[in-house]
Subunit: 185 residues, 2 copies
């Protein structure tokens, strides 16, 4: 199928990384160089999120891009596992509109499919990223809400820290036969 470009869409360039290799080799990258990420790279990542499947075509997802160092540091200081945000080129907050998708399992399906698409795009572009979970109603969740001035119906579901990788992580053994069942449990 030919890749068309719709009006308004950002430019598209395929990478040299095959989809299965990207899935296998993507790792959580928490250390970054000081290099910025380009507008083009950022739009490619955001577009990957917008290509996610969505239950009943509700498309509840919204993405907030944070580059302001002070704002990134505020979010980094609110959770011990989010410290790398202060040195990331960019933070991406994956949110969903609960007025568009009210069922939590479908809301999360849409937001997390988008999150995984974005992480794979980040890896494909040669960048590094890490998925930071947002525990609902936690202090960090409240900090995100307040810092980003989220309206009541908008829920933060995940945060990605992204930058140029300053660490290399080989892929681990993930094949576990005991997780696979045939016909029934």
């Amino acid at each position: 199928m030919t890749i068309e470009r719709y009006a308004g869409e950002p430019e598209f360039k395929p990478t040299s990384t095959d989809v299965l290799t990207a899935i296998r080799e993507r790792r959580s990258i928490r250390k970054y160089t000081e290099e910025a990420i380009s507008e083009e790279e950022l739009n490619t990542i955001l577009h990957a999120g917008l290509c996610a499947p969505t239950a009943r075509n509700r498309r509840p997802f919204h993405f907030i891009v944070i580059k302001d160092r002070e704002r990134l540091t505020t979010l980094a200081q609110g959770k011990i596992h989010a410290r790398m945000l202060s040195s990331a080129a960019c933070g991406l907050v994956i949110c969903g509109d609960t007025a568009l998708e009210e069922r939590p399992e479908h809301f999360y399906a849409d937001c997390f499919a988008a999150t995984q698409n974005m992480l794979l795009a980040i890896h494909g572009l040669g960048l590094g990223g890490v998925w930071l979970g947002v525990t609902k109603d936690s202090e960090w969740y409240q900090l995100i809400r307040e810092t980003l001035e989220l309206p009541e119906q908008i829920e933060p579901a995940a945060v990605i820290a992204v930058g140029h990788p300053a660490e290399e992580r080989p892929r681990p053994q993930t094949w576990e036969e005991d997780r696979i069942h045939y016909e029934k449990w």
Copy 2:
């Protein structure tokens, strides 16, 4: 980074589809030919699921592979949007162990990242698949639990129908500027 093969791991062959193209062009495919999918293809899809990121390395995911026509038809008849399961080469039920991950948002993050990896792998292999949402405590959810004899702590999170595609669907316009926000809402 070189692709190593760990002991016991299925063979790995990269595809010719770049990761960004796969993300852009993957569509929900609901019509299939009668051709079976090979053991090798199936293991590639399952491995993609097992490569998903997971909060705090809990790895709650379990996958149930269904090829038995009667069992597929039972599941297909339980939900109007799941009818294509009866003609799919295979059904994949993505489950999670709530004893390994008790928080719903993290449980869903892990299961749905795995689901999206599997859908992208399916597309990369030239196969077609569709994500069927499982609404918790619905009649279909109960039917899945009973049909697959799931233990109490194992929750079905999503179902994928997969087969050789008998329909082509061009990619839609998904770039929506109003879903992207900078610095705050």
